[in-house]
Every structure is written in C-alpha cells, then in structure tokens.
C-alpha cells in the first residue's frame, strides 16, 4: 500500500471544496500551479508554498501552506472571489468546526485551517489588459489517521 503524502490529499480536498463551493463564480476552473492557456476568467489557482512535518508530536503530521487566488479581469470580481475562497477554507478543520470540515480522505485528517497573508496584485497583459489576482495564503495542519 502506498501512503499518500499529506499535501496531495490536501490539494485534492481543497480543489474539490473550491469547485463545489464556487461553481457559480468560476464553475470548475480550479487549477493547481497554472491554468491552461486561454482559460476563461475568473479561475482559481492553488499553489503549494510549503509542506512538512512539525516534529512536535509523535504521530506523523504535516503543516501545509497553500496560496489560493482567483484571477479575474475585474478587480471587483477578483475581490469577491477572494472573499469566497476565505469563506470556504478558513477555520475548516475538524478542530475548527463540526459542520462539514475539510475531508482529506482515508489517510489524513485536517485538524485546522488558518488564513495567513493576503494576496493582491495586478498583472498587465500586453501592457494594456489588467488581470487581477486576489486571494490568500492558508496554513493547514494535518495528522495521519
């Protein structure tokens, strides 16, 4: 049996949560690391910033930091998308809530999730077309079940 790394289990559940919770805004356009060329906007990008054991307890655990941002052509839409991301991912571990906590599958439990720094910047395409990136970094703590 191959044990699944914590960050892959986490990215799966975060992706599923964003697709189901944000379908009205970005449909299923939630991507890991980069979006396909010419992808319609808005879309969501998930980036793995760091992942590793804490060494603070005997059981296998992991602290993962993900950057999650929405990319949109309108600042207002990007801001609203970022607020939706926060509402879907902040305080969603089993220690945070008993109502639909993030379910990371058979091997891992998400104990808590925490919003860290905000992400906010503008990219200019061909020096004319703005693309707004809004979101946040989140820290997730996972324990092997």
């Amino acid at each position: 049996m191959t044990l699944e790394p914590a960050h892959l289990a986490l990215i799966d559940v975060v992706g599923d949560t964003l697709v189901s919770g944000g379908a009205a805004v970005w449909q299923d356009r939630v991507y890991f690391h980069h979006a396909p060329a010419e992808s319609p906007k808005p879309y969501v990008i998930i980036l793995l910033i760091s992942s590793g054991e804490t060494g603070r307890i005997h059981a296998e655990d992991s602290e993962c930091i993900l950057a999650v941002k929405v990319v949109a052509q309108e600042l207002e839409q990007a801001g609203a998308g970022a607020a939706l991301i926060v509402s879907l991912l902040r305080d969603k571990g089993t220690q945070d809530t008993s109502v639909n906590p993030l379910d990371a599958g058979a091997e891992w439990q998400v104990s808590y999730s925490r919003k860290l720094t905000d992400i906010s910047y503008v990219e200019l395409i061909s020096n004319t077309e703005p693309r707004f990136h809004e979101g946040a970094q989140f820290k997730f703590r996972l324990e092997r079940k």
Partner: protein, 141 residues
C-alpha cells in the same frame, strides 16, 4: 557522546502507556540536605545528606479521540498514587529504566490558546516511596 533523537522515551502511568502523547519529559531528583554548620571560624555552609526526593514533570498532548483521551486523562486526578515507569530510550535491553510509586501533585490543563496550537496537560508527579528500579543507581531494562 551521543545525540539522542529525544523521541523514544516510554512513560507508563499505572500500566497506561502515554508514550505516544508526551511532548516533554523532565525527571528531577534532589536531596534534602541539612545544614550542619558548626564552629566559630568556619567560612562556608556545611551540609549533610538528607532524604532523596524524586519527581517527574511531563507535558502530555490532549487527544481528540475520546476513547484515547479517556485512557490517560483518568490517570491525571490529583492525589492519586500510581506506579510510574520511565524508560528514556525505550524498553530496550541494557537501557536505563526507572520504576517508582508516585503521587499526582498537580495538573495544569488542558491548556489552550486562541492561536491554534497543541492543547496540553502539564503533569507533576512526586515520589511516594523509594524506587523499585532506580536508573540513577544503574537500573536497566
């Protein structure tokens, strides 16, 4: 010289093994010396050996699985006396062991903070009798 990983210590309280839950173990020993200073021209305190006093501080993590928590939280009732076993490098032949009857002196916890962190108990035990196996006298597993 040795560099230990500091994670193999086995602590058993009244036959309940809490080895998977501790984050810090601190056995402490002291001798209750008695001052015996005497004489007109002495310049330093003189002392004689008194009774040995062993104690043990342990930080134990709160577990969110109810059955697991119940297995050891009930060993934290202050005033209770238990046989405490401690093996700094685990139950390995030739490695130190310490077995002693101890009383639960005090427990702080479960302590928690709004900053998401481990929830812990700080357990303080005091020797209730002479050790049956004293690692400071060379007792080994």
């Amino acid at each position: 010289m040795a560099t230990l990983a500091d994670n193999k210590g086995v602590l058993i309280i009244d036959t309940v093994d809490v080895s998977g839950f501790w984050t810090e173990l601190k056995p402490k020993t002291k001798n209750n010396t008695k001052e015996t200073s005497a004489g007109a021209n002495i310049t330093h305190v003189q002392r004689a050996k008194g009774l040995d006093d062993y104690s043990f501080d342990a930080t134990i993590v709160y577990d969110d699985i109810s059955a697991t928590l119940q297995s050891y939280i009930q060993k934290m009732k202050v005033g209770n006396k238990y046989i405490v076993e401690y093996y700094p490098e685990g139950k390995v032949a030739g490695k130190p062991k310490h077995i002693q009857s101890m009383i639960v002196d005090s427990v702080n916890g479960p302590s928690q903070k709004v900053e998401k962190d481990l929830i812990t108990f700080e357990l303080s035990l005091s020797g209730a009798d002479a050790p049956t196996s004293d690692m400071y006298l060379g007792a080994v597993y």
